[in-house]
């Protein structure tokens, strides 16, 4: 993303929190969506902290020592990098520096602080006191609405996902064993530039899903696969069933998915869509994987803040990019299909097709 986009995101933060003196953003190798959203930086080994003041350039404190700064530099638009050391005192010092004399009670906001491990949280955030609040959920609401640049990144991910599915179906159709099929999909995504790819597959007709932890050197006729692809920092996902046999369960899920795509529109309640999907697959039972949630928003976090479930209070909005899943179980297993949809005011855009 261009630097201007990050600056715009930060500006929106100040608009939402007009009395904030700055923002302290935590990220580590496991939880970094917010840090990446504001600085483009994804910590790979040790944690990182962004200190973003309202006035003046931000700084990024990078764990791992001074020798790691050169590796961090190309990964962020932030120019001032320093080692993450004595973080408690450094942060406290920074907080006092960014407190304007005209507003001595102004405080920074915290983002991602609750993802820090206990000891680090006690060292950095707890001493700041209860008046310094964590506003991660508010940022997540903003992160839901994707910019054109983000939609392009997600589209790139969907291109890789599509390549993976094509490779998967081709390998499966040629009679390859399950390991070969799954790895063909992963390789195709990697060759398209995917930074990471996760896969799950079923050996029991779609009933249960497994990661590839041991070689499966035999084919299965109807292969249910889940793929998640991370590209340019953004996650997309897809469920697909590769089979030559007729499957009423699969056909039903595909039909319901097509209806779901057209029924998503700004302002509609997520819970209504979830109920529509649940009703649509009846009398089949909901698949265990999709019974509680039939999708989520996509983006920098794996399984985004918007959850599509019958008890959700959320509504769809233009700018949402969603994974919508439809799953049904039968006595032989089941089927799950999904799609990636960009919600727009006029007509939704399907970034990744429904099942093949």
């Amino acid at each position: 993303m261009p630097k201007a986009e990050f600056l715009s995101r930060i500006e929106e933060l100040w608009i939402e929190f007009p009395s904030a003196s700055g923002a302290i953003v935590y990220g580590d190798s496991r939880h970094h969506a917010e840090l990446a959203y504001l600085t483009n930086f994804t910590p790979k080994l040790e944690p990182a902290l962004a200190l973003i003041s309202r006035f003046g350039p931000p700084q990024l404190l990078v764990g791992g020592g001074a020798n790691m700064l050169a590796a961090a530099k190309p990964l962020t638009w932030v120019e001032k990098l320093a080692p993450l050391r004595n973080s408690g005192s450094v942060v406290a010092q920074w907080v006092s520096e960014v407190t304007p004399s005209s507003s001595p009670k102004a405080r920074p906001v915290l983002i991602g602080s609750k993802s820090a491990p206990w000891a680090l949280h006690q060292q950095i955030f707890a001493p700041l006191g209860p008046e310094v609040v964590d506003v991660t959920l508010a940022l997540h609401r903003r992160m839901r609405r994707k910019s054109p640049g983000e939609i392009r990144a997600l589209s790139d991910g969907c291109t890789s996902l599509n390549a993976a599915v094509v490779a998967l179906v081709d390998a499966h159709g040629s009679g390859a064993d399950v390991s070969t099929v799954v790895l063909a999909a992963e390789h195709a995504a990697r060759r398209c530039g995917a930074q990471d790819i996760r896969s799950l597959f079923s050996l029991d007709g779609g009933r249960t899903l497994h990661p590839l932890t041991a070689t499966v050197d035999y084919p299965v006729e109807a292969l249910q696969v889940y793929l998640a692809v991370r590209q340019l920092g953004y996650w997309v996902e897809g469920f697909v069933v590769s089979t030559n046999a007729a499957s009423p369960t699969l056909t039903r899920t595909q039909d319901v998915l097509r209806s779901a795509i057209t029924s998503v529109r700004p302002g509609r309640r997520c819970a209504d869509l979830a109920r529509m999907i649940a009703d649509g697959i009846m009398p089949l039972a909901a698949h265990p994987v999709t019974a509680k949630e039939c999708g989520s928003s996509l983006g920098l976090m794996f399984g985004g803040p918007l959850r599509l479930s019958a008890d959700s209070d959320d509504t769809f909005a233009a700018g949402d990019v969603l994974s919508i899943r439809v799953g049904a179980a039968n006595e032989r297993g089941g089927a799950i299909v999904s799609t990636v949809v960009a919600v727009q005011d006029v007509a939704n855009s399907v970034l990744w097709p429904a099942s093949r």
């Binding site: 020798n67 590796a71 491990p117 932890t213």
Partner: protein, 370 residues
């Protein structure tokens, strides 16, 4: 030792400390630097946050998220009672709610989970002591299976290194090479690979790869760390794109000498710190003493998880006494001012008489004709 023996040892320790149960908690993100108490207790590698509860007679309850992963967990840990859940803290509350306040329990893994989870657990079970020592002391030595898996993972790493030598070239980006190697290790049976791969004419450290395109004359550093059935192994290798000059060859011979000295020093009954000190002494003797400490070097090796990283780092402050069936890395991995950071390292298992490297072929400086 097998996993049952380990569980018995944990129960014995529980009895000594009059504990009714120990709880292991993990957030489901499997990271080389983080212990996994759930894997220690169950040998199960979860998809999401998970917990394991071991009572004093050895009965194990395994709580997994997402709930639909329960059936796989039952297959992976057939002796455990498995509970599928959507929220690990709520599920733990339900499991322990009836005994909290009456039973004496301890919890392992809280330090590594997020504050959001740890604070909920601390609130639900106030004043519960840590069980980290109880669990991880029992993992100082690996089980027979873990060592066997480490051997498989080492073979995978060596094959991946061979693949790297076949394809590395100027013009290829670090990311492209890393992606290919990660996929390649998957084809060989590794379910994961913590790969650090970087390049440059003078590296300050080994780092995760980025989009930098490699150039003639670069020194390419690779820590190839595949996992086979949840057990990591690692090899550390250095490749030069082009001809290695005298300084590079001389310095690489030095790091090999230091590594071999460390391997020689790793005998049962010796403190781990001696291994580190021995490696340091090789560099100090050549006038590089200043580079034997941070920021240039933090440790000379480390344990290999995912379940447990015991016996810990090969460092001056680790006085763990080496014993047979301990598994860890010995890697000098040294910054030297003339050439930058250089990698060499082997996974070793301590035997009755010393240290055996798991690799078939030891590290050597590789030169790629360009």
């Amino acid at each position: 030792m097998n996993v049952d023996d380990r569980r018995i040892a944990i129960c014995q320790r529980m009895a000594a400390e009059r504990l009714d149960c120990v709880v292991g908690i993990h957030d489901g993100t499997h990271f080389i630097e983080t212990h996994n108490p759930v894997m220690v207790l169950s040998s199960f590698k979860s998809l999401g946050p998970a917990a394991a509860v071991l009572d004093r007679v050895g009965a194990l309850t395994l709580i997994v998220t997402p709930a639909w992963d329960a059936e796989r967990a039952r297959g992976g840990c057939p002796t455990a009672r498995v509970v599928g859940a959507d929220d690990i803290v709520e599920a733990l509350g339900r499991e322990l709610g009836s005994i909290a306040g009456r039973a004496k329990m301890a919890i392992s893994g809280l330090a590594a989970v997020s504050w959001a989870v740890a604070s909920r657990i601390a609130s639900a079970f106030p004043g519960v002591p840590s069980a980290d020592a109880i669990l991880f002391d029992a993992t100082m030595t690996k089980t027979g299976d873990e060592i066997a898996y480490a051997r498989r993972a080492t073979r995978i790493a060596e094959h991946a290194y061979q693949r790297m030598l076949e394809i590395v070239r100027p013009g290829l980006s670090e990311d492209e090479l890393a992606a290919e190697l990660c996929w390649y290790t998957r084809t060989l049976g590794a379910e994961d690979n913590f790969l650090l791969l970087c390049s440059g004419p003078h590296n300050r450290a080994v780092q995760p790869s980025n989009g930098r395109r490699m150039q003639a004359g670069d020194i390419v550093l690779a820590e190839i760390t595949p996992s086979f059935r949840g057990q990591l192994a690692q090899i550390c290798r250095t490749v030069v794109l082009g001809h290695a000059g005298d300084a590079l060859r001389r310095n690489y011979d030095l790091v090999i000498e230091a590594m071999n000295a460390g391997i020689q020093a790793a005998v049962p009954g010796t403190p781990m710190s001696t291994v580190c000190r021995t490696i340091n002494s090789v560099f100090e003797a050549r006038g590089y003493g200043k580079y034997c400490h941070p920021p240039h070097i933090r440790r000379r090796g480390h344990g290999l998880g995912f379940a447990s990283n015991q016996p810990g780092d090969v460092s001056l402050d680790n006085n763990t006494i080496l014993a047979p069936n301990m598994l860890f890395m010995i890697h000098p991995n040294q910054y030297l001012p003339e050439t930058g950071y250089l990698l060499c390292g082997e996974p070793i298992v301590i035997t009755e008489s010393g240290a055996d490297a798991l690799t078939a072929k030891q590290a050597a400086l590789a030169q790629i004709a360009v």
